[in-house]
């Protein structure tokens, strides 16, 4: 009797998962349709129809529906000229707040370099000065030259031939950091991997423990600001105010644990064929966030 019950519950659970997957597929299909139709009426109708189902717990989709970008936003195509950049800048200025550092967390297998390069270029065009790209396999780190090439190419496409006015600093773990003690006023693109997270903290810990071993300091001297300072000495990564996560996995997957204490996390379903409106929507949602900082 008990095993029959267990079997029944197991089947019901599988059914539940199937229902959820079907629901999700429906949503993403509808999401694409809504984007292409761009009718406010259609959006509202879809929200009303799907509200009962969406209450079951797909807040990301609801957010996208409610806070989605203006229907009047014209899509940016790859072949647009310099007018694209000024449009991006004005979009950036219209946002309530812009992050200084945005983290792009790719939680999907087989990343698509052109799409990520697109997002990077749009971020910089909107006025974000520090863009980091992360995946938990370290794929971007291994292929950072390819990423840089794609970014340069997308920059030219978006900004026209005169893309060089937006000279970008491209950093990855291999590059020499020590000359960058001065805060760079050029926009920076940084490629991150899991080693920049916990392992960096461990390195600082080793550094401190070795200095204690050599009697250069006592363990009592160690405090939060000291750790923070040492972490930023070798890799001066500012705390990201916003992390945009691409992909269905709901986890940070080891992204900079020390730096993300006050970071807002906004999820987008995928980075493949991502549009400028999707990114702008995420930035608008970030603009609406309120931080109370403990108070």
């Amino acid at each position: 009797m008990r095993t029959r019950m267990a079997l029944m519950y197991s089947l019901l659970w599988r059914l539940l998962l199937i229902l959820v997957h079907v629901n999700r597929a429906l949503f993403s299909w509808l999401h694409v349709r809504i984007q292409s139709w761009k009718g406010r009426l259609w959006e509202r109708a879809a929200t009303v129809l799907l509200l009962p189902i969406s209450l079951v717990g797909f807040p990301d989709f609801q957010n996208n529906l409610n806070h989605g970008p203006d229907a009047n936003v014209k899509p940016i195509t790859e072949k647009s000229t310099g007018g694209g950049r000024s449009r991006c800048l004005s979009d950036g200025k219209s946002l309530k707040k812009i992050p200084v550092h945005i983290g792009l967390l790719v939680a999907e297998e087989e990343p698509s370099y052109p799409d990520i390069a697109n997002v990077v270029v749009w971020c910089m065009a909107v006025g974000i000065s520090y863009v980091s790209v992360y995946d938990n396999h370290g794929v971007f780190q291994k292929n950072n030259s390819r990423l840089l090439e794609e970014i340069k190419r997308q920059q030219q496409d978006l900004l026209g031939v005169d893309g060089s006015m937006h000279s970008v600093e491209f950093l990855s773990s291999g590059s020499d950091q020590h000359q960058h003690n001065v805060v760079s006023c050029r926009p920076t693109v940084r490629v991150l991997s899991p080693d920049d997270g916990k392992q960096s903290i461990v390195h600082v810990a080793q550094q401190l423990c070795r200095s204690v071993e050599n009697k250069e300091r006592s363990f009592k001297d160690i405090n939060v600001s000291m750790l923070d300072l040492l972490l930023r000495e070798s890799k001066n990564i500012p705390d990201p105010e916003l992390v945009v996560k691409f992909g269905p996995v709901n986890s940070t997957l080891g992204f900079l644990p020390w730096h993300i204490r006050l970071t807002e996390f906004i999820s987008l379903p995928s980075h493949r064929n991502i549009s400028y409106e999707d990114l702008l929507g995420a930035l608008q949602r970030y603009g609406a966030c309120q931080q109370r900082l403990g108070q």
Binding site: W13, N136, E213, S218, F219, I222, V249, S251, I260, R261
Partner: protein, 409 residues
């Protein structure tokens, strides 16, 4: 039956009381400091309190016929009771899939809830605690043995003095209540742990906490970790400081420091990493909570306010966990492999250095190198074991010393 539940300092020196009635929790405010109370109950009945004795308010049973208790009792940590049929069925369906063994909650939204219901802030926090007790009951029915909650952040010290004092007072009441029902805790096998920089708290609260932790330390059926005066950065820094202490004491070497060792030095070293982190009230950030431990956990952000959290919200979060389970497991395994590789590389580097010293520049054959590596690894592991034992002893003494202090006081 109306039963007075909790008295706390309200605004402008007027004590406030919450009654448990069939309609839910009913607030009751006094008109003048300490003496008269007007019950805003459903039937609109009024009553007069008699006097204030040792901080407890007494009522005349005739004036307020349906008040059962004469003294106020605090709300319990443990809620008994079974799930409803529908809840039971849903729980069984969920349990057919992978279940999280450790869930962490950021219980956000108490103050917004209080504003929404036109209550005082303190009442919002009270409702929040009530919800915590209920959530522990649901977790017990869902076979989730470990729960960690974010009760008070070091950043919260920045709030107004009134609010901070109110929260400290609430904590005192809660831990006192915990000690009163220690038999019940033993029956359910609940082990309470408090994580944080406890020396930032007032001494009497530290002593209460120490007693609570000490008396429940051997229970092992379910675990409740309360993060109080906690931020993740302070926790990581403390772990580094402990390792440096170990180095200063000569227990470990600087080269023994690794990711695994740091994890063992955190306040949460007795618990596995959380499988699922839930934050309520719609905020989508971690606010310095378990940043190290949740690097490969499922994060679920829900817009419901914490005091309004329901069993179905919990089920929804667990469902999200189950949907993400495979991919997160893969990422965790990858990370573990990478960690093991890094440890091996570090050991190899140390051994190579040692061998160079001893062999005076002569080349060493690979078999000798392999033996040296195995020997070095086992020595390192032994050092680490002794260090962790010393650390555990240090931490246990911290609690037992506080306990004995409070007995003498």
């Amino acid at each position: 039956m109306n039963e007075a539940l909790y008295v706390f300092p309200g605004q402008r020196g007027r004590p406030s009381v919450l009654f448990q009635s069939r309609g839910g929790l009913v607030p009751c405010r006094s008109r003048e400091p300490g003496l008269q109370l007007t019950v805003k109950s459903i039937s609109g009945c009024k009553c007069n309190a008699i006097s204030s004795k040792n901080g407890t308010l007494m009522w005349e049973p005739d004036a307020f016929p349906f008040v059962k208790a004469k003294t106020c009792t605090d709300m319990s940590w443990i809620k008994e009771g079974e799930l409803s049929l529908l809840e039971k069925i849903s729980a069984n369906i969920l349990k057919a899939g992978p279940m999280p063994k450790h869930v962490a909650f950021i219980m956000d939204g108490n103050r917004r809830f209080a504003r929404k219901k036109n209550m005082e802030r303190q009442e919002g926090h009270m409702q929040g605690f009530n919800k915590l007790a209920e959530t522990l009951r649901w977790c017990k029915h869902l076979n989730i043995p470990e729960v960690t909650v974010y009760a008070f952040s070091i950043e919260n010290f920045k709030r107004t003095e009134d609010e901070v004092d109110g929260l400290m007072e609430l904590a005192r009441q809660k831990f006192e209540r915990l000690l009163e029902e220690h038999e019940n805790l033993e029956k359910h096998g609940v082990c309470i742990r408090v994580l944080g920089d406890l020396n930032m708290l007032p001494l009497d609260l530290q002593q209460l906490i120490a007693k609570a932790v000490f008396t429940t330390r051997n229970h092992n059926k379910c675990f409740v970790n309360v993060c109080f005066a906690y931020t993740s950065r302070y926790e990581i820094t403390n772990a580094v400081r402990e390792m440096a202490w170990g180095v200063e004491q000569g227990l470990i070497k600087g080269s023994d420091v690794s990711e695994a060792l740091l994890s063992e030095c955190l306040y949460s070293n007795n618990s596995p990493n959380p499988d699922l982190l839930i934050r309520t009230s719609g905020e989508v950030r971690l606010s310095d909570f378990l940043l190290w431990q949740t690097s490969h956990s499922c994060l679920v952000f829900q817009s419901v306010l914490w005091p309004e959290y329901s069993f179905w919200n919990l089920c929804e979060a667990i469902l999200q966990y189950q949907l993400n389970h495979k991919s997160i497991q893969k990422a965790r395994d990858l990370h573990r492999e990478h960690q093991a590789l890094q440890q091996l590389e570090a050991d190899r580097a140390c051994v190579a250095e040692l061998l160079q010293h001893h062999s005076n520049g002569k080349p060493v054959d690979s078999q000798r190198r392999q033996e040296a590596l195995l020997h070095y690894t086992s020595c390192r592991e032994e050092r680490v074991r002794d260090f962790l034992k010393a650390l555990k002893h240090k931490r246990d003494s911290f609690f037992s010393d506080l306990c004995s202090e409070s007995l003498l006081a």
